[in-house]
């Protein structure tokens, strides 16, 4: 009774409302809108089902779902025997229906040489940078795409959160149905999420052109958004002041900043997910992550973010390992990713991370279902997979009352299959979207299979047709006596067979063609013999086809072969090194880098990460790890005062002449193989600097090489923050080619002025802030991250590290620092520092230089290898740095060059890479020497560390052994073993060994930079 009432009510509603504003052109079309789908297996929700029931739909809405439903007389009935209904699938974010992004030119160009900051043409009231477009509305720009919709429906999707494609802050998404027809009626919900991406924008104006630049501009924009609301309010209260600018982009950010709208952060690897998490936390945003398939690599850290993930299911193709030569270039982490990727969803599930599957990031969308099934075969429960396609995305999108389950009152979005969706053989027959039926692949009306007795033309002989195979792709064998012929078949539809065969052996000349219409037990058709004779044919079913039980063995599912290591891939550790309570090195030659100099036959005791004692004959405490260091040399862990290792996606934000707002801290790359390679050379700390493309560059980050830990855990928290300046040829773009000759500055004169201008601006800014704080009625001063950094320099809170070559420019900056009263911590490279050593000494500025680099550009013509010794002997604190991921592996030999050139003592030479850089970084109380109470960062060498024959055998950081040559030997064996095993697994698993898949595109994990930018990529990527 209740059912009938509901139904009647619905009918009234149907006739009483007009759902669209569009005027009708021509004759109105009102197809019947009441459907009864009967005899269905109904999967109501991932956990609830009806084995046989009916779904009643009217006006696009589900009215009834039950085993027994009274079907109204005016309903169109659909017998769905054999079919299973699922709630239509929902993709929580893909680019369906959005305008395509213009394609960049193939190959692109070098970020450093090509991408220049172009003058900005303001467009209306939009943000100055075209990567920032929060005002973009996917809803306003939505246009149904027939082909794409068909492809998605074929996978079972009925709704999509159509998301903006371009930009960094990209705009808002809109949930749409995948139906055809009126655009407006497909849109279920507008302004769903704000989308933010860390992917480099191919159409950008030049800035930002690095990951850290992207994060910076997003951060600045969010700050601007916060400021904009306050500024508007302040102006409303008091309009007797200069109005703030009108900016509709910033206005559009308000819902996100006030937690009224969630933000989706789109991240292309596991580290970017964590970066998104920190940024979201900084602004207390309510957010969701668009993942990437690499989550398994850092699952514990991602779990801590405690947010749902929109999960691409973009499993990589098997790497090409057909020849040993090809396999040589396949990385172990690519092989391992191929092996792990299908288990990524399971691992997320096991970690209790909520996720919704998306088709985005898939190169070939049609592979989606195959991949979902692969994930299921690798352990993901079917109901969890189904939830990720229905209820979870519905909830994420806040439309769980509209879609996601087959329940009364919900939109009639359904997928009808001929069986279990998560089984390979199952076919999707149709989808229903808002009560409209879309056929995917119709079931054949008739099963033609069986043995037929056939009469062909006037022939007296009876032929036999054996029809076997799949219903939808049958095979036919024609036999007469003992002669068998297999015709070629083109099947037009469910009940028509078109065949052609050579009739010679059957006494029919030439090629015979037949078109046969199959009915239940008979068929009839016509055709033509080779000589042009028209013939008829008739058939009678003698034996119907009997389905043989499926005896094929289930495909052997191979689970991933190895355990996850950190970072993933070669030389990763299964867990971080432990910190023993006590570690005792016995009987070593100890280079203290303190006044004590080099101590023979001495013991060194570490306790809980600190240096406890340096004496002869220290008795071993209980439970101490004792290392016999007889014949070995122990030095402080080495420090590289100029490194570009462990930085993700761009060391140079070269898009502007001043980029003090960008932060290396945002883009630490804990996966960089350089960390491990440099540990193997006794290095324990590194000053990660921004590049030198800008007079005032980005903020640096000092790290310890804690291989296996997360980016955050690499940072030396106590380290004073600094910033990179750059003088000379690089900031004035001398070697950037003929395309780059107009950006200010182009001379050393201009470099000075732009630096002075920036400091003056920072002073003005500071004053304005103070003034604004006193006057709450004024529009507040906009937080400018660029000037904030400068203000910190002026306040003595930020150290300046200035890339420099010639003495004139060095002296220039010294004078600027005099005038603005800030201290320069180091000049970096400082090749002509030896010409004005007395100034450096007087100002207590450190010189962090190369040992002997020269003759690669004009400003190094006067560089000499004696520079370090000369400056040292004038009293300047000198360090030797690498500026190279390669050289950072052998800093000890660089130090030895000071002995060669100028005869520095060996003790002083070692200090160039230990205590001296520690002092330059103002960390001398923590690292850089072996002194009781300091961090237990030590390297153990096979010989005197300044000898070319010396090899670093162990490297300890915080009393934890991060590198051990013996362990390294084991890892090498492990790498070889795993490569062999996985290559074999690929060869076993690959379907067709002749195909040549393109190498998978994976995020690059190692970069190699020097000051000028990218000089090559570690590994083959």
């Amino acid at each position: 009774m209740r059912n009938i009432l509901t139904f009647m009510f619905a009918c009234c509603w149907l006739y009483n409302s007009s759902a669209q504003t569009f005027p009708v052109e021509g004759i109105r079309s009102n197809q019947p809108g009441i459907h009864a789908l009967t005899n269905l297996t109904i999967i109501i929700s991932p956990t609830k089902r009806i084995d046989k029931g009916t779904i009643l739909i009217s006006d696009g809405v589900i009215r009834e779902v039950d085993e027994n439903v009274t079907i109204p007389v005016n309903a169109r009935k659909w017998d769905c025997t054999g079919l299973t209904a699922y709630a239509g699938f929902i993709d929580a974010s893909n680019d369906y229906g959005q305008p395509k992004r213009p394609q960049p030119t193939p190959g692109g160009g070098s970020q450093f040489m090509m991408q220049q900051s172009q003058p900005v043409v303001p467009r209306g009231s939009l943000y100055w940078n075209n990567g920032i477009r929060p005002e973009f509305s996917a809803s306003e720009n939505f246009m149904p795409d027939k082909d794409a919709a068909e492809k998605l429906r074929a996978l079972g999707f009925t709704s999509v959160n159509s998301s903006p494609i371009s930009g960094l802050i990209k705009g808002t998404s809109a949930v749409v149905n995948l139906g055809e027809g009126n655009t407006h009626s497909q849109i279920l919900n507008s302004n769903v999420f704000q989308h933010i991406s860390f992917d480099r924008e191919p159409m950008s104006q030049g800035y930002p052109n690095s990951l850290m630049g992207i994060i910076s501009i997003v951060r600045q924009t969010l700050l601007d958004g916060e400021w904009y609301s306050k500024a508007q309010a302040a102006y409303k209260k008091n309009s007797t002041q200069q109005k703030q600018e009108e900016n509709s982009s910033l206005a559009a950010l308000d819902p996100s900043l006030t937690n009224k709208q969630k933000v989706v952060f789109e991240a292309n690897d596991e580290l970017n997910l964590l970066r998104a998490g920190s940024l979201a936390k900084e602004f207390a945003l309510s957010y969701i992550l668009r993942g990437n398939g690499f989550e398994y690599r850092r699952i514990a850290a991602i779990k801590e973010l405690n947010v749902p993930i929109i999960l691409p299911i973009n499993f990589p193709d098997a790497p090409n390992v057909e020849t040993p030569q090809l396999a040589l270039n396949v990385e172990l982490d690519d092989l391992r990713h191929w092996d792990f990727a299908p288990e990524n969803p399971l691992k997320l599930k096991n970690a209790n991370i909520n996720f919704a599957f998306t088709t985005s990031q898939l190169k070939d969308v049609s592979k989606f279902r195959e991949n979902v099934n692969l994930a299921v075969s690798r352990g993901l429960k079917k109901e969890d997979a189904l939830a990720s396609l229905t209820t979870i995305p519905a909830e994420l999108l806040g439309i769980q009352n509209l879609v996601g389950t087959i329940e009364i009152g919900k939109i009639a979005n359904l997928v009808l299959t001929n069986g279990d969706y998560f089984t390979e053989k199952t076919k999707i027959r149709e989808t229903w979207i808002a009560g409209k039926r879309y056929e995917v692949k119709a079931a054949p009306k008739i099963d033609p299979r069986g043995t037929w007795s056939v009469q062909l033309g006037n022939s007296i002989d009876t032929l036999s047709f054996e029809i076997t195979g799949e219903v939808e792709s049958p095979a036919v064998t024609i036999s007469h006596n003992k002669i068998k012929v297999k015709p070629t078949i083109t099947k037009t539809d469910a009940s028509t067979l078109i065949l052609s065969f050579s009739g010679d052996s059957l006494n029919m000349k030439g090629v015979v063609r037949l078109t046969v219409n199959v009915e239940k037990n008979t068929f009839a058709g016509n055709g033509e013999l080779g000589d042009g004779t028209q013939i008829f044919c008739t058939g009678i079913l003698k034996n119907a086809f009997v389905e043989k039980p499926d005896t094929t063995k289930p495909k052997l599912v191979e689970k991933s072969s190895f355990e996850i290591v950190y970072p993933e891939g070669a030389f990763g550790y299964s867990k971080p090194p432990e910190q023993p309570e006590f570690v005792l090195f016995k009987n070593a030659t100890v280079w203290t880098s303190e006044d004590a100099g080099v101590l023979q036959n001495t013991d060194l005791l570490l306790e809980e990460g600190k240096i406890k004692k340096i004496e002869k004959n220290i008795p071993a405490p209980k439970n101490a790890i004792v290392i016999d260091a007889t014949g070995k040399h122990i030095t402080p862990g080495l420090i590289d005062c100029h490194s570009h290792a462990a930085i993700s996606d761009g060391v140079n934000e070269s898009g502007q002449a001043i980029t003090s707002e960008v932060r290396i801290a945002d883009v630490i790359n804990s996966d960089d193989m350089s960390i491990y390679r440099q540990l193997a050379g006794g290095l324990t700390s590194a000053n990660l600097l921004h590049g030198s493309a800008n007079a005032i560059g980005g903020q640096n980050q000092i790290i310890k090489l804690r291989w296996s830990l997360l980016p955050e855990d690499l940072k030396i928290k106590e380290a004073k923050s600094g910033i990179k300046f750059a003088l000379g040829e690089n900031p004035k773009q001398s070697n950037w080619g003929d395309m780059n000759t107009t950006r200010y500055p182009q001379t050393r004169m201009g470099v000075e002025q732009i630096i002075r201008d920036e400091f003056r601006a920072a002073q003005d800014y500071k004053l304005a802030k103070a003034n604004s704080a006193k006057n709450p009625n004024l529009i507040p001063v906009r937080t400018d991250l660029e000037l904030e950094a400068l203000e910190e320099i002026l306040d003595g809170k930020r150290l300046v590290h200035a890339h420099s070559y010639r003495q004139d420019e060095i002296l220039m900056l010294v004078r600027v620092s005099d005038d603005f009263n800030f201290r320069i911590a180091t000049f970096q490279h400082v090749l002509e520092g030896y010409k004005i050593a007395e100034e450096l000494e007087k100002h207590k500025i450190g010189a962090s230089c190369f040992s002997d680099w020269w003759a690669y550009k004009y400003e190094v013509v006067d560089a000499i290898p004696y520079a370090g010794t000369i400056m040292n002997n004038v009293g300047v604190n000198v360090s030797f740095n690498s500026d190279s991921n390669e050289m950072a592996r052998r800093m000890n030999l660089e130090a030895a060059k000071a002995v060669r050139y100028g005869g520095m003592s060996e003790v002083d030479a070692l200090n160039l890479i230990t205590i001296n850089p520690a002092k330059q970084l103002q960390l001398e109380n923590k690292i850089g020497s072996l002194k009781v109470g300091k961090d237990a960062d030590v390297a153990m060498w096979s010989a005197s560390p300044l000898s070319t024959t010396a090899i670093c055998e162990q490297t300890w950081i915080d009393g934890r052994k991060y590198y051990d040559r013996k362990n390294d030997d084991q890892l090498k064996i492990e790498v070889a073993k795993q490569r062999t095993e996985l290559v074999q697994k690929v060869l076993r698993t690959k379907k067709s060994p002749t195909s040549t898949p393109t190498p998978p595109t994976l995020p690059r994990r190692s970069y190699s930079y020097d000051c000028d930018g990218e000089i090559g990529v570690g590994g083959t990527r």
Partner: protein
């Protein structure tokens, strides 16, 4: 004893005084005997208290009991070491002065096939890198043109002389070929598609074969006196006949394999330059008797999965496989003076120390085909040698004297001149807290 020391000091000082602008050494006019030194002959015994005598630019005697002619200049080495001049086997010294400045680059001729150009022709004897290179014991360089597929003809140079003709020890030493990349790249820095790269490679390989085949045809025509002049084909004569070597720059396994195969087909002798992946093809290299100039040992491993020490261990692995090799620095002319330290680091990674030295001396000479003149201290060979305070493979050692063809080599350089200039500044200012040694 004391007078001898004084004499030695005067001699050294006078060298500095009279050659501060690095004037090439005068032709040896009287015999010179270096005595009381540790003489590393490389091919023969090492004499721990030995004498080496040279006259008219050639070594005339070595041993512990050498009869020193009365007119000889005698220099007591006080236990210092004597070595044959080191060879930088892949050099740009003299061809490139400052990499970033186009006008100072003479290493790459335009076009892909330049078998006719000669490296020694554009060597600037007054380049600033020559004195700094030889000051570290590198008295000989194998200077190679770069670029394209066939870069040009290489030459062995002595690191002293008034003209490039004075400096040339051997030319042409070989033909430099850059083997085309046998893989495709998807790097953003490559501006062509993978298909385009493949096509380009195929085209280059056909053109390379054609160059050799056309050259053979050209020689036949010439014999019959009917060839119109073609400088490129003409210059191929010593290379197609196998009289001279091909130096093939090849790092990737596929490149090395293809290059060796090519040489076999053409019946010519090649040297692999670069050789980064040589350890993966040792059987082939051994079988075909192909030597390798390892110029990538101070590079990072090419692949993430490779052992962090991969490059350092290349020399040891080739040594263990019985493949002849030399160690060099390529594409970085200012770093060539550090080559011996890289060889030293290979020792730390398992290469026997004497093999490291051989790789910079006699083995390099053999690979370059100049072993009858240089590469070891033997009677009759050029008196091209140096004196060191210690093992040249150690960074902390220093070169104190050097001779090329018996001529005294000025060991000062732009670097020492600037050093002395600014030490003077700080002495005058009174701020130099410690003297330099």
């Amino acid at each position: 004893m004391k007078t001898l020391k004084l004499f030695f000091t005067i001699l050294l000082t006078s060298t500095i005084l009279f050659s501060s602008d690095q004037i090439p050494g005068k032709k040896q006019s009287k015999p010179i005997a270096l005595t009381n030194g540790i003489i590393h002959t490389i091919t023969g015994p090492t004499y721990s208290k030995g004498t080496i005598l040279f006259e008219n630019g050639k070594i005339t005697a070595i041993g512990e009991n050498v009869l020193i002619p009365a007119n000889a200049e005698k220099i007591d080495l006080y236990g210092k070491h004597v070595y044959p001049g080191l060879i930088s086997a892949t050099s740009l010294v003299g061809l490139v002065e400052l990499e970033a400045i186009r006008s100072t680059r003479d290493n790459i001729e335009t076009g892909k096939f330049n078998p006719n150009v000669r490296a020694e022709i554009s060597v600037n004897p007054d380049g600033d890198l020559i004195p700094t290179t030889r000051a570290n014991g590198f008295l000989l360089t194998h200077t190679m043109p770069e670029g394209g597929i066939v870069s040009g003809k290489s030459a062995v140079l002595k690191m002293d002389g008034w003209t490039h003709e004075d400096m040339t020890l051997d030319a042409p030493t070989g033909l430099v070929i850059n083997w085309p990349n046998m893989r495709t790249s998807q790097s953003q820095f490559v501006r062509t598609t993978e298909d385009e790269q493949k096509k380009e490679r195929e085209k280059d390989l056909v053109a390379l074969r054609n160059l050799f085949e056309d050259a053979k045809a050209y020689q036949l025509l010439k014999k019959n006196g009917v060839a119109k002049t073609d400088l490129k084909l003409e210059s191929m004569e010593p290379f197609i006949s196998g009289k001279k070597l091909l130096f093939v720059v090849a790092n990737d396994q596929l490149q090395i394999e293809a290059a060796v195969q090519f040489a076999k087909e053409q019946g010519v002798k090649i040297v692999i330059v670069g050789g980064r992946d040589a350890v993966y093809v040792t059987d082939l290299l051994k079988k075909e008797n192909v030597p390798v100039i390892l110029s990538e040992i101070y590079s990072l491993p090419a692949r993430r999965w490779e052992d962090p020490d991969y490059n350092w261990e290349l020399p040891k692995k080739l040594y263990d496989s019985g493949i002849q090799f030399s160690i060099s620095v390529q594409n970085e002319n200012s770093q060539e003076r550090n080559t011996a330290f890289y060889a030293g680091f290979a020792v730390a990674h398992g290469l026997p120390a004497d093999e490291a030295l051989r790789s910079l001396t006699i083995n390099a000479a053999k690979i370059l085909g100049i072993e009858n003149k240089v590469g070891s201290l033997e009677v009759g060979k050029d008196a091209t040698l140096f004196v060191s305070t210690g093992d040249p493979l150690e960074v902390m050692s220093n070169v104190t004297n050097a001779y090329i063809d018996g001529r005294i080599v000025d060991l000062t350089s732009k670097h020492t001149i600037l050093r002395d200039k600014y030490i003077r500044k700080y002495e005058d200012l009174g701020v130099l807290k410690k003297k330099l040694n």
